[in-house]
C-alpha cells in the first residue's frame, strides 16, 4: 500500500455570492514535498487553505489530508497538520508562553520543556513572558510558527508566512522553512512572490482568480519561462538599437524609465554586450529587470485590468 498523500484536494469549489473564490481546484501534495501555491491578491489561496483547515466548508469537491476527510474524521482530519492562515492571531492579554500553554492544552497537553524548545526555535525565549498585545508583527508571526511546531506536525501549512516581515525577517522565515523542509516535514506554502516559491518549493500551483493557471515542478516552470529582461544604459542608444538586429536580442527604447530594455537568451545578451563595447559604444549600466519566472508569473496571472502583455507594447510602438 502506498502512503496516503499529505493533501489530496479534488475539484474543490467555494463561492461567495456570485464570486467563485476557488473554482474547481485540484492540488495533490505528496509526503516530503515542499509545495507552493502561488497567486496574486485575491487568487483564492487563503480560501483554499481555510477549507483545508476546516474553517470554511467547500461548496463541492473533497479534501483528504493523509487520507482523512473532515466529513469522516472531523477535527481528527487535522492530526499531524499544523500551520496558520493569514497572520497568526493570539490572545493579547496573555503572554506568549501562556498562549502556547493554552494551545497545548487544546492538543491534549505537551511534555515539559517542549514549550521552551519551540520558543527557542523561533528566537522568542527572552520575550516569552511578555503579553502578546505588545508583540511586533514579526514576533507574532514567529509565535505562530512556534505554535505550529508545538503540534509536531507532519504537514506544515503556511499562508504567506513572510508577509509583512522586514527583509531580515523574510530571510529568517525562509531559512526556517527550508530547514524544516530539509528535516523531512511536508510543507504547503502560499505566496505571491515567485522568488520565494522558487527558492523554497519543489512543486507549484499557480492560481489565478480561483482557478489553476499552472501546475508542475519548478523545473517545468523554468522551461516555460520567457527570456530574461535587462535594463540597459549606453552612451548612444540609437546605435545600440541598430546593432541589436543581428545578435538575436530584442532592444527597445524604454519610454517610461528612459534607456533601453534588452530581452533575449542570456548568451545572446552577453554577445550583444560584447559587440556594443567592440563598436565603441560605452556601457553605463546593465541590470536585470524581472526574472524570467516573475515574467512568466505575470503572464499567467494577468487580468484584463492588470499589466499589459508584451505584444501590447509592440502594437503601441508600431502605432507611434
Amino acid at each position: 500500500m502506498t502512503e496516503a498523500l499529505a493533501v489530496d484536494a479534488q475539484g474543490v469549489t467555494k463561492t461567495y455570492g456570485s464570486l467563485r473564490a476557488v473554482d474547481d481546484i485540484t492540488i495533490r501534495v505528496a509526503p516530503g514535498e515542499v509545495y507552493g501555491v502561488l497567486g496574486p491578491n485575491g487568487a483564492g489561496k487563503t480560501t483554499f487553505l481555510r477549507m483545508l483547515f476546516g474553517l470554511i466548508r467547500p461548496d463541492s469537491g473533497t479534501i483528504r489530508i493523509f487520507g482523512n476527510t473532515w466529513q469522516d474524521a472531523g477535527v481528527g482530519a487535522l492530526a499531524g497538520v499544523a500551520g496558520f492562515i493569514e497572520s497568526p492571531r493570539f490572545y493579547p492579554y496573555l503572554t506568549g508562553r501562556q498562549n502556547l500553554e493554552g494551545l497545548a492544552l487544546l492538543d491534549g497537553g505537551t511534555t515539559p520543556g517542549r514549550i521552551d524548545e519551540v520558543l527557542a526555535m523561533v528566537d522568542l525565549s527572552d520575550r516569552a513572558d511578555r503579553k502578546v498585545g505588545g508583540y511586533s508583527y514579526g514576533m507574532k508571526q514567529r509565535l505562530g510558527v512556534a505554535a505550529s511546531l508545538l503540534r509536531d506536525p507532519r504537514l506544515l501549512v503556511l499562508d504567506e508566512p513572510a508577509n509583512g516581515l522586514d527583509p531580515a525577517g523574510i530571510r529568517d522565515m525562509r531559512a526556517l522553512v527550508k530547514r524544516l523542509a530539509a528535516s523531512g516535514l511536508t510543507v504547503l506554502l502560499s505566496s505571491h512572490h515567485m522568488d520565494e516559491v522558487e527558492e523554497i518549493c519543489d512543486n507549484v500551483t499557480i492560481m489565478r482568480r480561483g482557478s489553476v493557471a499552472f501546475h508542475g515542478t519548478i523545473a517545468e516552470l523554468r522551461a516555460m519561462a520567457p527570456d530574461p529582461g535587462h535594463a540597459l544604459r549606453t552612451s548612444n542608444d540609437t546605435a545600440a538599437v541598430r546593432l541589436a538586429e543581428n545578435h538575436g536580442v530584442r532592444v527597445e527604447i524604454d519610454d517610461a524609465e528612459g534607456g533601453l530594455t534588452v530581452t533575449g537568451p542570456q548568451q545572446a545578451v552577453s554577445a550583444y554586450v560584447a559587440a556594443l563595447v567592440a563598436a565603441g559604444i560605452e556601457l553605463r549600466a546593465l541590470t536585470p529587470t524581472q526574472t524570467p519566472l516573475e515574467a512568466l508569473f505575470f503572464m499567467l496571472t494577468d487580468d484584463e485590468t492588470g499589466r499589459m502583455e508584451p505584444q501590447d507594447l509592440d502594437e503601441m510602438e508600431a502605432a507611434g
Binding site: G74, F90, L94, L106, D107, V122, L176, R179, G184
Partner: protein, 289 residues
C-alpha cells in the same frame, strides 16, 4: 530563528494526535477568564458594590415606600436585602452575567482567534460546550457573591429585626434569613437563561458590545412588557416573570408554584437559545482573523 531544528521525520510526536475532551477546553477557558480584568471587575463589584448601597439606603430619613419592602428597608436588614434583590433583578443580574457570557464567543471574533483554536485538536462542539459551561459557572459564582455580600452587609449594617411579610405576617429573624437566601437563590434559573441569551447574541453578532448590552436591554424590555395590561398570554414566557416569583415565598400562606414555572420558562429559553447558538457556530464559515 537561528536555533537548531531537530529532525522531524520519524520522530515520535510529543503530542499524540487525538481528540481532546471538553474538560481540557474548560480548563483553558477558565484560565483565560482568570486573566481578564472585566471578569475580575464583575466579581469585585458583586462583592463590594452592595456595601455602599446598604449604607446609603440605611442613612435615608424617608424610606422608599413605593418599592416592595422599601417601607421597612431603612430599619430592617432583611427588608433591605429584598429591596436590593428587586432592583438587581431589573437589569443588574442580566448585565453582570452578560459581561462574560456576551463576550466569551464574540471575543474570539474580536481577536481573530477562532482560527487559532479551531486548528488544534478540539471540535467546535467541544469549544461551544466549554465556553457555555464557563459562562454558566461564572453566572452562578457572581450571583452567589452578590447575594452573600448583600445579605451579609444588610444584616450587619442594618440589623436582624423580625421581618414583616407581604401578607403582614411577622417572620422571625432566623426564618427570615432562610427566606431571603431562598429568594436570592430563586434568581438563578433566570440568570442562567440570560446567560444563554447573551451567548446566542455573542455567537450571532460576533460583537462583544452587543453581547453585553443587548441582554440587559432585553431584560428591561421584558420588565416593561410584563408591567403592561393585556399581556396575560405571553407573561409566562417572559424571563422577568420568574424574577418576581420569590414574592410567593414571603406571603402567608407561602406559594412556590411561580418559582417552578419560572424555572421551566428559563429552561426553555436556555434550550432554544443554546440550540440556535450551537447550530450557528457549527455551520459558520470562519473567514475572519
Amino acid at each position: 530563528m537561528t536555533a537548531t531544528i531537530e529532525t522531524f521525520a520519524g520522530r515520535r510526536p510529543h503530542v499524540q494526535p487525538r481528540r481532546v475532551g471538553t474538560g481540557a477546553v474548560l480548563r483553558w477557558e477558565l484560565r483565560k477568564l482568570a486573566h481578564q480584568w472585566r471578569a475580575k471587575a464583575v466579581l469585585l463589584a458583586a462583592l463590594v458594590g452592595p456595601i455602599p448601597v446598604v449604607f446609603v439606603i440605611h442613612g435615608q430619613s424617608r424610606p422608599p415606600k413605593d418599592s416592595l419592602f422599601g417601607r421597612f428597608a431603612t430599619e430592617n436588614g432583611f427588608a433591605l436585602a429584598l429591596l436590593i434583590l428587586g432592583f438587581a433583578a431589573q437589569w443588574a443580574l442580566p448585565l453582570l452575567t452578560s459581561i462574560v457570557a456576551g463576550d466569551i464567543f464574540a471575543s474570539e471574533d474580536q481577536h481573530g482567534t477562532w482560527k487559532t483554536v479551531l486548528t488544534r485538536s478540539t471540535s467546535r462542539g467541544r469549544i461551544f460546550w466549554a465556553k457555555t459551561l464557563t459562562a454558566a459557572l461564572f453566572a452562578v459564582v457572581t450571583l452567589a457573591v452578590l447575594a452573600a455580600s448583600t445579605i451579609a452587609s444588610s444584616v450587619l449594617i442594618v440589623g436582624r429585626q423580625p421581618l414583616t411579610g407581604l401578607s403582614g405576617q411577622q417572620i422571625a429573624p432566623s426564618h427570615a434569613l432562610a427566606l431571603v437566601t431562598a429568594s436570592w437563590a430563586s434568581m438563578l434559573p433566570g440568570m442562567l437563561a440570560f446567560t444563554c441569551l447573551a451567548i446566542l447574541i455573542s455567537v450571532w453578532s460576533r460583537n462583544p458590545a452587543a453581547g453585553i448590552a443587548a441582554p440587559a436591554v432585553i431584560g428591561m424590555v421584558m420588565q416593561l412588557v410584563g408591567a403592561l395590561g393585556g399581556v396575560e398570554p405571553i407573561r409566562p414566557f417572559l424571563l422577568s416573570t420568574g424574577f418576581e416569583a420569590w414574592h410567593g415565598l414571603l406571603t402567608a400562606p407561602r406559594f412556590t408554584q411561580p418559582i417552578l414555572e419560572g424555572a421551566v420558562t428559563s429552561a426553555g429559553w436556555c434550550v432554544v437559545t443554546l440550540a440556535i447558538a450551537y447550530l450557528t457556530l457549527r455551520r459558520r464559515d470562519i473567514t475572519g482573523g
